[in-house]
């Protein structure tokens, strides 16, 4: 139903921020609970774990949400500029996000962060492409069928 479908672009940013925050919160809780458990003194493991999770995992979620929000915003901007939706947009967005979020640390760190962001996004895109290619090959209607004897 194309009359009722809306342009994804501004609403996609909110979706991405929310899902990135959720991912960061859950992943951060698990990770920080392990760290809090390990660094604690002997009788205070549980208390330390709970304290560490409460203090740090919200921050991790916010960092992930910042990454996701900036990424999605730059992606929408690139789509509006290029007038084309492409995997290249995602890679460029990943690089620019890495650079932009490291702006306070100077140009060299920005360049390294941009490279890391674009490599990670390229890997994600590549995995998505390979998956869709293999899934498509499975459901190909023009592939040779094996002879079936009843």
């Amino acid at each position: 139903m194309e009359e009722y479908s809306r342009e994804p672009c501004p609403y996609r940013i909110g979706d991405d921020i929310g899902s990135a925050f959720a991912m960061g919160l859950v992943g951060g809780s698990i990770f920080h609970s392990f760290t809090g458990f390990r660094h604690a003194a002997k009788g205070q493991k549980m208390i330390n774990m709970v304290r560490e999770v409460r203090a740090r995992s919200g921050l991790t979620g916010a960092q992930f949400a910042a990454w996701g929000g900036v990424f999605s915003t730059i992606d929408c901007c690139l789509v509006a500029i290029r007038k084309k939706e492409d995997p290249l947009n995602s890679i460029a967005s990943g690089g620019l996000t890495g650079a932009l979020l490291a702006v306070r640390s100077g140009p060299k760190v920005m360049a390294g962060s941009a490279l890391l962001g674009s490599v990670i996004l390229a890997m994600i895109e590549g995995v998505g492409l390979v998956t869709s290619r293999w899934m498509g090959a499975m459901f190909d209607p023009t592939a040779q069928q094996m002879e079936q004897t009843l």
């Binding site: 609403y11 492409d86 492409l129």
Partner: protein, 232 residues
């Protein structure tokens, strides 16, 4: 403000004559205690230090104290069993590393092939979109500023281009691609097909269909062979 209460001055012989006066007056004004260490006499550690510590660390000249205390170095494997275990660990790590390099290389190959090879849907999409965006009839019907996109996924990204690769009865390989375009007045679909003739991939047809109740079509390229037995 950072205030140090003691100032150690290690005094070489050359400065002994006049160097210390101003330092002492400054220290009196700032409330800093100045202790002077004479480098002629070597420093002796307190006599009962060794009796107190259980573990005698070997302090040598090459490594600093902090290095020795804080960094833990693994013991070299001495017995045969330990050596075999270490070699097995190393081999496992090398295998995992080689496997991941191979996997990454395969991923990079498939990824780059998507953008460079002529018969991949992405290249067909890019080139035909450029053709369509510059065509007068299309711009007239759709209103300017034409935007192209693929199929909707659940998450809102529309990157996947619907495509089908097939082989005709005569053995000719073809790839057909369909994507959406949206202009200021209307939306539509673009169908493009490439076929492999004598080893080169060539456009067989490119046409645009609007999404009205009565679709209008704009044919940009039509290279299909005229079938002599066709009725039309």
């Amino acid at each position: 403000m950072y205030r140090c209460s003691q100032l150690w001055v290690i005094q070489p012989k050359s400065l002994r004559s006049g160097g210390l006066g101003p330092l002492l007056t400054a220290s009196r004004n700032l409330g800093i205690t100045v202790r002077v260490l004479d480098t002629n006499k070597p420093v002796q550690p307190p006599k009962d230090a060794k009796a107190k510590t259980k573990h005698v660390a070997k302090f040598s000249n090459e490594r600093s104290y902090l290095d020795e205390i804080l960094i833990k170095h693994e013991e070299e494997p001495k017995t045969t069993a330990q050596k075999v275990k270490k070699k097995a660990e190393n081999t496992f790590f090398y295998l995992v590393f080689a496997g991941s390099v191979v996997a990454l290389g395969a991923l990079a190959y498939y990824f780059i092939e998507q953008f460079i090879s002529i018969d991949s849907p992405q290249t067909i999409y890019s080139r035909t979109l450029k053709m369509v965006q510059n065509d007068d009839r299309v711009l007239d019907i759709f209103g300017g500023s034409l935007k192209g996109y693929g199929e909707d996924t659940g998450r809102g990204r529309r990157r996947h281009i619907a495509n089908q690769r097939y082989v005709t009865k005569e053995g000719e390989e073809r790839v057909r691609v369909m994507y959406h375009v949206k202009g200021n007045h209307r939306t539509g679909k673009v169908y493009a097909e490439v076929a492999k003739k004598d080893g080169n991939w060539d456009y067989r047809m490119v046409y645009v269909l609007t999404d009205d109740t009565v679709p209008r079509n704009i044919i940009l390229i039509d290279n299909r062979e005229k079938d002599p037995n066709a009725l039309v």
